[in-house]
Structures are given as structure tokens and as C-alpha cells.
């Protein structure tokens, strides 16, 4: 993110944070007070989150006011900027990374054999990035295929075995 974009980002984030702070405070106020138990009024569960929510609100309000002064409300989002954003290599790389990591971390793990899941993940990761976004011209596709295969297999077995037998973790 370029620094000159910061007021805009601050503007949006501070609004979100202020809403979050208010939500926390409302939620804290709704927490039980245990009056029927004659609980000490200073011991009720909502007191600390309520205070923290208020502090978040005040701090983000400061950021909000500052971003207003710097003209952050002129967001300037239109179809053009969005298209640029989506076509940017960085965005594509980021989306690919997160997608593949989520598939591995949230879908594959726990639903299939750990070693297999890890092997498939590492192999796909290596192939996708080296093939799609390679900075150099790929000299030998076959060689790439095989080295990736070896690295994926090694990672899966070594990590799996170390955690299973050295750290006694029951693999998912």
C-alpha cells in the first residue's frame, strides 16, 4: 500500500473500528449483572470489555478525524480502479496464496490422511507458483515436475514424522 493512499484506508478502517467498538459496548451492557446474586457491582462480566470497547472507539475516532482532515473521505473507488486492482500481479499472487492455503488448512486437513494432504499441498503450491509466475524462463518442465515432487514428498514425511514421533503429536 502506498503511503499516499493511507488517509483513505484510515477512513474506511476507522469507521469499521468505531462500529466494532460500539458493538462491543452494546454487547457488554447486555451481559448479565447477577444482581439477584448480590454480586459486587464491580465484578460484573461486562465491565472490562465495555471499557476496552470504549477505548477502541475513542482511539479510532481520533484516526477518523485525522483522516477526514487529510481528505480521506474522497475514496475515488470506481470500476476502473477496481479493475486495475484485480489485474495487478500482486493481487493475483495474494489471492492464489490464500486460496491454496485455505484449501489445505481448512478443507484438506482433518478430512484426509495428513501425509497425503501435505504432499498434495506442497506439490501444488510449488508447481503453481513456479510455473505460473516464474521470474525466469522455465528451462525444463520435467525437471521442475520431479524436483517439486521430491520436495513435496520430503516435506510431508519429515514434518509428519518429526511431529508424530519426536513431539508426540497425534496427526489430524
Amino acid at each position: 500500500m502506498k503511503p499516499e493512499n493511507m488517509p483513505k484506508a484510515d477512513f474506511v478502517v476507522s469507521i469499521l473500528l468505531m462500529i466494532f467498538g460500539v458493538w462491543i459496548v452494546i454487547h457488554s451492557l447486555q451481559m448479565p449483572r447477577f444482581q439477584e446474586l448480590e454480586a459486587n457491582p464491580f465484578s460484573v462480566p461486562g465491565i472490562v470489555p465495555g471499557v476496552l470497547g470504549t477505548i477502541i472507539f475513542i482511539l479510532s475516532l481520533t484516526v477518523f478525524i485525522r483522516s477526514l482532515k487529510q481528505g480521506g473521505y474522497r475514496l475515488g473507488i470506481n470500476r476502473h480502479t477496481l479493475q486495475d486492482f484485480l489485474r495487478d500481479t500482486s493481487t493475483q499472487r495474494m489471492l492464489l496464496t490464500t486460496a491454496i492455503c485455505i484449501v489445505y488448512g481448512l478443507v484438506m486437513i482433518g478430512h484426509m490422511n495428513y501425509y497425503l494432504a501435505t504432499f498434495v499441498f506442497v506439490w501444488c503450491f510449488l508447481l503453481l507458483f513456479q510455473y505460473r509466475f516464474s521470474e525466469n524462463v522455465i528451462v525444463n518442465k520435467q525437471k521442475l515436475l520431479i524436483t517439486s515432487l521430491v520436495q513435496a514428498a520430503l516435506t510431508a514425511t519429515v514434518v509428519g514424522a518429526v511431529f508424530r514421533y519426536l513431539f508426540l503429536v497425534d496427526l489430524p
Binding site: P32, S43, C101, G110, V122, E135, L171
Partner: protein, 514 residues
């Protein structure tokens, strides 16, 4: 003190002469500790707990020795991944990454590891001297920390950490810190056992655990950030020298001793661990350094004091374990439980009933520290090669480690989900210039703040004057408040005005003479 020294020598020679195998145990346990510390997700607490089970059948002194080695090794080991990958291995090393990673990016990873190792070693040595000679004294100091002091300490931690990690815009650092404190509010609350913010989900009622959140916010977020860049230069790791030149270290002797002492004292405060020790000594060093501008960009001094701070806290955390049977930090709590299992009963009577045990612990820390120093300086060259691995090849492996590391703590898939979610939170926070370290510290300090604020309010019945009732409260509170307001414009204006008046007055006074 002479008695103490005799008992210490006896304990040390006892370890070395009785059982020559002990050296192997020490080296093995410390090396394992370093590995545990390096891997994101595996922490000192987990390492010590794991070793407690494995050493169940051993003689008490050998078992406790192995646990101490594990503890010292793990707190040091976390510095390596902090330097090489910008992912602190344990929460205690978050301050190490601030200067360690920039150094590695400048191609000085070998030097950085050398500095970190030396810092850790010196910190441990200062800590163990304090442990040897001032255990009763510091034990009493730990007693001075009551609810109000704990409350201020938690706020202090957030304020200085936010200030340090977001030097341009501390507001964002503080917001991150308070968000972390809020994350710690999730789950069962300690007073009435009411489930806050769990929305009926069983998994949430246990709260968000620090480790998966930390691994996600530092680890996964780092992976996304690194992979996102269209191209990235591979650092050529030129290693000239790993063992730092002694004049480079001696130059900072003031900072080192200060950090060592501060680290020991903070380590000794029950419940506050190595993480706050590292941040506080970093803050103190930055404020008094001639090279303050370098901090955060690869300062040798910053790296050195961060590691001195967290490793001296290890010895510090053992002081209340021995003198009060109250742990100074989470791994020390496991260590205390292990002592109970082995029939050693630390507590206020230990100096009367078993003074030799205190010196045995000192000897243990010394052995562990020496092993850490030797192991830390060897094997650096192959390790630094990590930096020259292209990121496409390195990052999937790091993510595999993040996943298994967050799963390993409780064997719950929910924690892998927590890791991924905090990865996104961490990534977007970074993009929006919000630092992550204060949030992680906030998660650590959240329960401390909660319990002690409630207790303080009950005691004071809401009277704010009680919050400034003791010298320690006043000191921590005023440092916190000054740090907080020193970043506002009107405070700067007042400061400049005062400076100006002083200068003009001096100028006038000096004029006739000049």
C-alpha cells in the same frame, strides 16, 4: 554468600562428576529446546510440559535439569525464526524480529544470530547471578505486585509495545493492542464463569488461544506478504563472522546490564513473562541510546537488548517459583508442577529447609546457558542458507509448519481455523499499517488485565485514587501516561516551549560571560 558459593560449586560438581552422561542430557535437551523454540507454534511452555512427561521416571535433579535446559533453549531458539523469517518462534521473540529481520535482509543474518546468541547468554548470566544472590530479595519484590500494579503493568505493556512497533503512528499500535486485549475477553470469564462473546459455540467458550493466533498473525500473514510481491530479491548470505567482536558488545555494556536487571525483575513478577521483559528492555534501550534512529531498521543494540531481556527473564521467573511457589511465567508454571511431581516443595521455607536446592537450580541454569551458547554459535552457516532458498520453495513448508504447529497445542482442528483467520487479520492489519506485535501481547495480557482490574475496582470501590496508591503504581502509571501523551502535538509543543525557555534563559545568563 560464601555458603552460597560453596553450595553452588558442590551442586555443579555434583552434576558433572556423579553422572558423566549428564552433559549429553544437557546438550540434547537444550538442542531440542532450540528446535522447539524455532518452530512457530511450538513454545517453551509446550516443550517443558512435553519433557515433564518424558522425564517422569528420572531422578528429581536430573529431571528438573532437563526441564530447565528445555526452557532456556526454547526462549533462545525463537530468535532464529524471528531473524530469518520475521516469524517469532515464541511470543517472547517478537521484539527480536523488529531489528533482527532487517539485519537479515541486509545480508547480515549470521552476524544477527551471533549477536542474539551473545545477548541471550549475557542475559542468562545476569539472571542467574541475581537468582544466586538475591532470591529472597527479589521474592519480596514480587510480593509488592498487587492488583493495581498488575493492572498498570498490563496497560504499560500495551502502550510501550504499540509505541515501539508503530513509531510513525502509535495510535494504530495502541488500537492493535486493545484489539488484542478484547480477543482475550472471548470465553469463560474468571469471576462468575459467564461465557463472553462465545455466541453459543463450544469451541469459542474456551477462548482464543494465544499460540494459534500468534502463528497466524505472524506466520501466515508473513507468507501472504512475501508471496504477494511480484518479485523479491534473494538475500546473498555473506557470512564474514558469526561470533561478534567483543568491542562491538562491550560498547553496549550499559544497555546489556540494564536489560539484564530489568528482565530479571519483570520475569520475577508472577504471571508476567519473557515477552514483556523483552519489550521493556527494548524500550529503555531505545530511549537512552545514542543510536535511537537505528532502532527498528536493524540496530545491533536493539537486537542485543531484546534477547538479553527475554533470556534474563527465564532466570527471573524461577525466583518466585523457588521463594513463593508461584510461577513467574507460563513455562515456569509447568516447571513448578514438575517440581511438585518429583517431590521437591519450593516455597517460603526453601531457603531454610533446602537452601542447597536453590543453588542446584543456579547450577542448572548455568549448564543450560553454556550449552545454549555453544550450540547457538555452531551450525549457523547451514541455517543462514534458509535465506537463499527461493520463496516459492520455502513458503509452502513454512505454512505446513504453521498448520501443524497450531494444531499440536491442543490437537483441535478449531485452532487451525483460528490460525487462518488471524492470518487474514494480521495481513490486513499490516497492509493498513497496524503492527501485529501489540495485538499478540494484548492477547497475553488480556486475562491479567481483566482479573486485576476487577479486583482493583472491588478493593477501591471505584475510587481512582487507589490506582496511584503505591510507589510502583505511580512509577508504572506515570511512565505509561507520559509515553501515551508524549506522542500528541500539544505535549510536543509544551516540551519545545520549556526547552526554548530554558535555552533562552541560559543564553541570557551566558551572554555577558561570552
Amino acid at each position: 554468600m560464601v555458603d552460597g558459593f560453596i553450595m553452588f560449586t558442590k551442586a555443579l560438581s555434583g552434576f558433572l562428576l556423579e553422572n558423566p552422561l549428564i552433559i549429553l542430557y544437557v546438550l540434547g535437551a537444550t538442542q531440542l529446546g532450540i528446535i522447539v523454540g524455532m518452530l512457530p507454534g511450538l513454545t517453551a511452555t509446550m516443550g517443558v510440559a512435553l519433557m515433564t512427561t518424558l522425564t517422569f521416571k528420572m531422578a528429581p535433579d536430573t529431571a528438573v535439569l532437563i526441564l530447565v535446559c528445555m526452557y532456556v533453549g526454547a526462549i533462545y531458539g525463537g530468535s532464529r525464526s524471528a531473524i530469518l523469517l520475521n516469524i517469532p518462534g515464541t511470543p517472547a521473540n517478537a521484539a527480536t524480529a523488529v531489528d533482527g529481520y532487517p539485519l537479515a535482509r541486509q545480508g547480515l543474518a549470521g552476524k544477527a544470530i551471533g549477536i542474539a546468541t551473545t545477548g541471550s547468554f549475557l542475559g542468562s548470566v545476569i539472571g542467574l547471578l541475581m537468582l544466586a544472590f538475591f532470591t529472597p530479595l527479589i521474592g519480596n519484590f514480587a510480593l509488592k505486585f498487587k492488583s493495581f500494579e498488575f493492572f498498570w503493568l498490563a496497560i504499560f505493556g500495551i502502550v510501550i509495545c504499540g509505541n515501539l512497533t508503530a513509531p510513525k503512528d502509535p495510535l494504530k499500535g495502541w488500537i492493535a493492542g486493545f484489539l488484542g486485549l478484547l480477543v482475550a475477553m472471548i470465553g469463560m470469564e474468571p469471576y462468575h464463569a459467564y461465557q463472553r462473546f462465545s455466541f453459543g459455540y463450544m469451541d469459542l467458550s474456551g477462548g482464543i488461544h494465544l499460540i494459534p493466533a500468534m502463528v497466524g498473525a505472524f506466520g501466515f500473514a508473513e507468507i501472504i506478504t512475501v508471496m504477494k510481491q511480484p518479485r523479491m530479491e534473494v538475500v546473498k548470505g555473506k557470512i564474514d563472522r558469526i561470533i561478534p567482536r567483543s568491542k562491538n558488545i562491550i560498547k553496549y555494556w550499559r544497555s546489556i546490564i540494564r536489560s539484564g536487571l530489568v528482565g530479571t525483575f519483570i520475569g520475577a513478577i508472577p504471571g508476567v513473562g519473557e515477552d514483556i521483559a523483552a519489550w521493556t528492555s527494548y524500550d529503555l534501550a531505545k530511549n537512552s541510546s545514542k543510536e535511537a534512529k537505528q532502532f527498528g531498521k536493524g540496530s545491533i543494540e536493539g537486537l542485543l537488548v531484546a534477547e538479553t531481556g527475554n533470556n534474563s527473564a527465564v532466570a527471573g521467573a524461577m525466583i518466585p517459583v523457588l521463594s513463593l511457589a508461584i510461577p513467574g511465567s507460563a513455562p515456569a508454571a509447568v516447571l513448578l508442577a514438575a517440581m511438585f511431581i518429583h517431590g521437591v516443595r519450593p516455597g517460603p521455607l526453601i531457603m531454610i529447609e533446602f537452601p542447597e536446592f536453590v543453588y542446584q537450580v543456579v547450577a542448572m541454569v548455568l549448564l543450560a546457558t553454556t550449552a545454549m551458547f555453544v550450540l547457538g554459535l555452531s551450525m549457523v552457516r547451514p541455517l543462514v542458507k534458509v535465506l537463499s532458498i527461493p520463496r516459492e520453495k520455502l513458503m509452502p513448508v513454512v505454512f505446513v509448519l504453521c498448520v501443524i504447529g497450531s494444531y499440536a497445542i491442543q490437537a483441535r482442528l478449531f485452532d487451525v481455523g483460528v490460525m487462518v483467520v488471524f492470518g487474514f487479520i494480521g495481513y490486513y492489519m499490516r497492509e493498513m499499517d497496524y503492527p501485529i506485535a501489540p495485538m499478540v501481547l494484548g492477547i497475553i495480557l488480556g486475562t491479567i488485565l481483566d482479573k486485576n482490574l476487577i479486583r482493583s475496582l472491588i478493593i477501591s470501590e471505584g475510587n481512582p485514587l487507589y490506582f496511584f496508591d503505591s510507589p510502583i503504581s505511580i512509577i508504572i502509571a506515570s511512565v505509561t501516561i507520559i509515553t501515551f501523551f508524549s506522542r500528541t502535538r500539544w505535549f510536543q509543543a509544551i516540551k519545545n516551549n520549556i526547552a526554548k525557555t530554558i535555552r533562552t534563559k541560559i543564553f541570557r545568563v551566558n551572554k555577558p560571560a561570552g
